[in-house]
Each structure stands twice: as C-alpha cells, then as structure tokens.
Symmetry: C2
Subunit: 281 residues, 2 copies
C-alpha cells in the first residue's frame, strides 16, 4: 500500500505537529485529527499520556532527547521519520509546544527535504502563551509594550556564554525565557548588566496549562532558581510583568483552567439536563 | 437561572478565547468546545464564518473595531461582556489569533476585573506562527537565532512615531511584524537606520493558514507594501528569514495546508473503505 503522502503531490509528507503546552485541550483540532489518523507517531518526551492516547492507530516511537548524545539522537529521529514516510501511511512528528519554537525544527526540516520528503508544519500553542495565560497577563499592551520576545539563554554545549539572547529582551523590556532554570545566576547577571532594572517584576511559571500549574513571582534583582516544583516540570521565566504579586518568592498554585472548566462543564451539563427535563415535563 | 460562572467560585466568568489565525482547524479543542457551549459570543471581525458556525447556541455580537471611534467601541465591548456575564450562561469573547497578543487584552481584562468578573484566558495560535509555518521557516534556530520577536510598528493615533518597537527586532536579527502594511516606508527606514542590513531577507505572508495564503519574498532594502493581495487580508511581515526565494517581490500562492490535508483525508478515507471492503470480503 502506498501512503497518501506519496500520492498527493508525488512526494511523501511528514507532519511536524505542535502538541501545545501540556493540557490536551490546547491541541489544535488539526493536531488532534492528525494524531488520530497517524500510522506513525514519533513523539518528544513530556507529551501528556492523554495526547498520546489519541493515537489509536499509530506505531508510537518515543524520541525524547533527555538521554544520550543530542546529535546522535537527532540523526536517529531524522532516520525514523524518513523510514516511516517511505513506508507509506500518515507520519506525525509530534513536538511539545510549537514545532518552530525552540524545537530544533531546522535539523528535521532539512533532513526531510534532503530525503525528498515534504515537511508540513502544524503550529501549536507554545509554553510562553500558556504561561502568560495562566497569570492573565497580556503579552503585548497597546502603546506600552509593542513587542514580545521569546528567547532562551541556553548555549550549545561547549559554546562560550554570550549575551545575544538578552539584547532583544532588554530592548523589549521583557519577554519569556525558555530553558532558563539551570542558568539563573547568568540570566540575572546578564539582564542587570545590560541595564534592566532590578525592580523588574519576573515570574516563574511551571507546568503552565497543566493541573498543577504554579507561579513564583519575584523581582529581577532577587531572582532565584524556582524551588519546590515537581522535578522535570517545564518552566518558563516571564520578565517584565505588570505586578509582582502579594508574596514575592513564594510558589503559588495557579487555579488550573482545566479544573475550573471541568466544574463548569459538569454544572452546565446538569443545568441542560434540568432544562430538558422541564421542557419535556 | 444563574449561570455556571456565578456558581463556580462566587464570580461570573468571561472566557477570552483565541480563534487562531484563520483556518478553523487551528482552533484549539478548548476553543471549539467553549464556542459550541457559548450562550453569548462576542467576536472580532475577521473570524471565519466556519468558526462562528460552531456557536450553535449563542447569541452572537459582532464587535469589530473597524468602524467608529476605537475607544467608544472598546467601552461598548466591555459593557456587553459585563452585561452578558451577569445575565448568566457561558460568555465567550472570541478574538482573532491569541487573546494576549496585539488584541488589547489589558483593557478588557481590567474592565472585567473591575466589574467583579473573572477573565479566563484560552490561548490561540497567533498569526506569526501561521506565517512561519506557511513558509516552513523555524521561528528560532539552535545556536543561531535564540530569540524571536513579535512586534508592531503601529503607534496610537496622534502619537509621535518612535523606534521602540524596532530595537528588539534589530537585536534579534528579525521577527514578525503585525499591522505593518500601512507603514512600510517607516518600517524600512527605521530598521535600516538602526543597522539591519539591506540584504536581510523579508517576506509578507497574507492570509496565513487560509486557503489563499500568499507570500511575497524580498529584501529589507527593497521592501515595498504588499500588492495584489485580497483587500482586507491579514498580513504579517517576517524579517530575517533564511532565504529570499527564487523570484523576490513576486506574490506566490503558498499551497494551503487545508487543501493538501483535504486531499489527504479523501485519499485516506478511500483507502480505509477499500481495506474494510477487502477485510469484509
């Protein structure tokens, strides 16, 4: 059987799909549909089990990069995508967040194109969006914050630490930092040295959009590594917020939208049944 | 009947929901569900009819800001949200893209909070994500572009033009500019004056994620207003891409994912029916 990809435009297709920030309900309709249709699902670590369970037909391949040499792992992921695409069927490469934001898309896109395979990108909600949403804080404000920066202070293994990532953050008076938790002293020192005020409100948001989402508000001058969070939780550092909160430095559970929404659903369902009963009576 | 919002946590709720960039399939599952459950749908202009049609129960209120005085319109939108929330039922304020990115969320959040109403944010795919996805261009690249900037060169009516929006873009060597089509000479002059190379690849992406999505690639030094696009099409300017394309300055239809996906679905559906028929035979 030839896969649909090969029959569409003469080229097999791999879908690079964003799984969103964690909450399975923040998948796009397209992502959910492609996962359900997938014959092959090559997925990152940290994808929620409830998302993986949507892949009712797929052979699943875990492609987490947390162990082993990163470059070797990447080559293996590329190889698996290419083999799957050539074998026919629907191939979904599922990545946390948005596949184009801090997800090494360049390597995978280039490998696919070199193998004659068409990469089709399906955007996903990125962690920064979920983190700002958790705090109810706009990412931009009219006339005030007319840009938002998504950045990472991480450098490649062995590379000299630099400040390239920090200049846009300074110039935008803030933004969201990915993968910052392991390099806090450098982040704080760099942003202060480049002129961002020590009083700048900052917040760690861990597990944004998930049931246990937690925020730790502080100020740049007192920024410390996030503590008391579940180990392995994805963490975003927001810099330049409107407020610091009542108890800076204290981890505060942010009421998860999921739970609130579930309560709303249950309540609404009960009301509907009630109304229908009244109507039928 | 008291609405579910009032019964949940003692406060009524308004959902500020992102409708995504246009393609109805880029709605999140949560957005689609809330729209379907909504009793009140207060929506921006430029939301696709197919998205609005998901609102099977709702009283729909169009809240486009394209006519009338902006501030008066915003106050009217705020009033409508508050009246709807207090009347009970599920209130969805549906905004194009992500409700926290260039969507005046601050005004609406502040008005709701002042009225004792809880704003609950449901992120959406923002236009920049769809524009990069259309071009298959990563928003960040490991070791190379470790930040991405979303910015707008628009200033408030009557405000003095400034360069605040441009500095993060310069320092990140690019990003995505919203609402730039009407101020092209200023955008070009500002970015050049601040030191971005005239050879920097740029691209307009119009109607990203929609059936007619179109790209016009160029270089910063030759940047002109996008031409030959459907009037009223949402347009994003991407600055600092990996390539300029074969024919700079020419509008090129980007094969829409929707159409490709539809072809794939049809093909796959046909194959399934075939296989089932073989199995049953």
């Amino acid at each position: 059987m030839a896969g649909h990809g090969e029959q569409m435009a003469g080229r097999p297709v791999v879908y690079l799909v964003g799984a969103g920030p964690g909450d399975p309900e923040l998948l796009t309709l397209r992502a959910a549909r492609l996962i359900a249709q997938a014959d092959w699902l090559i997925h990152d670590a940290l994808i929620e089990p409830a998302v993986l369970e949507l892949a009712v037909r797929a052979k699943r391949i875990a492609a987490g990069k947390r162990a082993g040499r990163p470059s070797a792992r990447q080559q293996e992921i590329n190889r698996q995508m290419i083999v799957a695409a050539r074998s026919g069927g629907v191939v979904v490469r599922l990545k946390g967040g948005d596949p184009l934001i801090f997800a090494r898309a360049r390597e995978e896109i280039d490998a696919l194109v070199a193998a004659g395979i068409e990469p089709v990108i399906v955007p996903g909600i990125t962690a920064a969006q979920a983190a700002y949403a958790a705090l109810g804080e706009p990412m931009t404000e009219r006339g005030d914050r007319r840009s938002v920066v998504l950045a990472t202070p991480q450098v490649q293994q062995g590379a000299v630490a630099d400040t390239e990532w920090a200049r846009p953050v300074i110039n935008a008076q803030g933004g969201a930092l990915y993968m910052a938790a392991s390099v806090v002293p450098r982040v704080r020192a760099t942003l202060l040295a480049l002129g961002l005020s020590a009083a700048t409100p900052v917040a760690w948001v861990a597990d944004a959009s998930r049931a246990g989402q937690t925020a730790i508000r502080s100020r740049l001058g007192e920024l410390r590594a996030p503590e008391g969070l579940p180990s392995g939780a994805p963490v975003i550092l927001l810099v330049g917020l409107a407020r610091t909160g009542a108890a800076p430095g204290v981890a505060v559970r942010v009421p998860p939208l999921s739970a609130r929404q579930q309560a709303a659903d249950d309540e609404q369902q009960a009301q509907r049944i009630e109304r229908r009963a009244e109507h039928d009576a």
